[in-house]
């Protein structure tokens, strides 16, 4: 957050719910927020993707993901949102460098940019849901089949969870990331807390 006012810290969309989030190590299901991640959305047409996709992937050090998949194990990571549509996510505070690097990768350093790279850091917050019961909790309100035969680590999908649009990213055997619009985060966290009551 570059525009931090003197003496006031940024406040995440679900900071007021932080004390309620079950985050006990070894719990059947844990929920935590990773607030203020840097996020840049990339849009490339087919031609641009062939020419500049690899450059963007190289800058991000994790390559570009295949359809329905994510790339990158730590920070940054990239999520496939649709054909030629990607979301690159990095540590809080790194949006400026992320954006500048991606714009250069798309040709801005050569005078003209192909595709678009836009800072959308304020659009979504990241929730991490993990534990042996995480998939059961998601099944209460997610329409996707998350069974290991159809979904697994490294997969991601834009879908609906409890009437809220989310990007669902499975990061481990029982670990999920939910990227939700900040205006829906309060609703989604309250819904998750309710769905989790029988497991925690």
């Amino acid at each position: 957050m570059t525009a931090m006012a003197e003496g006031s810290a940024p406040r995440s969309a679900v900071a007021h719910l932080a004390p309620d989030l079950p985050d006990r190590p070894g719990g059947a299901v844990r929920l935590r927020e990773v607030a203020f991640p840097a996020q840049v959305e990339l849009r490339l047409d087919d031609e641009d993707a062939t020419a500049f996709g690899p450059r963007a992937g190289q800058f991000l050090c994790c390559g570009m993901p295949a359809p329905g998949h994510a790339a990158g194990a730590g920070d940054p990571y990239v999520l496939w949102l649709g054909p030629g549509w990607y979301l690159a996510v990095d540590r809080p505070g790194s949006a400026y460098g992320l954006l500048a690097g991606l714009r250069d990768a798309l040709g801005a350093d050569c005078g003209g940019m192909c595709g678009s790279a836009v800072d959308v850091s304020a659009a979504r917050t990241v929730l991490e849901l993990s534990g042996p019961s995480a998939r059961a909790v998601l099944a209460h309100g997610c329409l996707l089949d998350l069974h290991p035969r159809t979904f697994g680590p490294g997969r991601c999908a834009q879908t609906v969870l409890a009437q809220a649009q989310v990007v669902l990213h499975q990061t481990g055997a029982a670990d999920y990331r939910l990227l939700v619009r900040t205006s829906y985060a309060d609703h989604l966290v309250r819904w998750l807390l309710d769905a989790m009551t029988e497991y925690v």
Binding site: G82, W85, L143, A157, Q158, T159
Partner: protein, 93 residues
Amino acid sequence: MLLIPCPWCGDRDEVEFHYGGQAHVAYPSDPDALDDAAWADYVFMRDNPKGWFRERWTHTAGCRRWFNVVRHTVTYEIAGSYRPGDVPPKVAS
């Protein structure tokens, strides 16, 4: 609930989509030549078959792309989906 095959995302629940009506309704090739009745026909009038129907859907909550679906209006069976410009799946009459 329909399970609709998005050409890019695979099978998804109906609530992720929005309906776009009949597919392959071509914009008039000579718009200046149309009178009001012809415009009304182009803008409002659509086929309403009892049987297979080619229709447009958009994956609103997913990849946000438009595509076409061949759906049976009586049985709700979906014969398949195809991207704009692609060949529709074959169905019996």
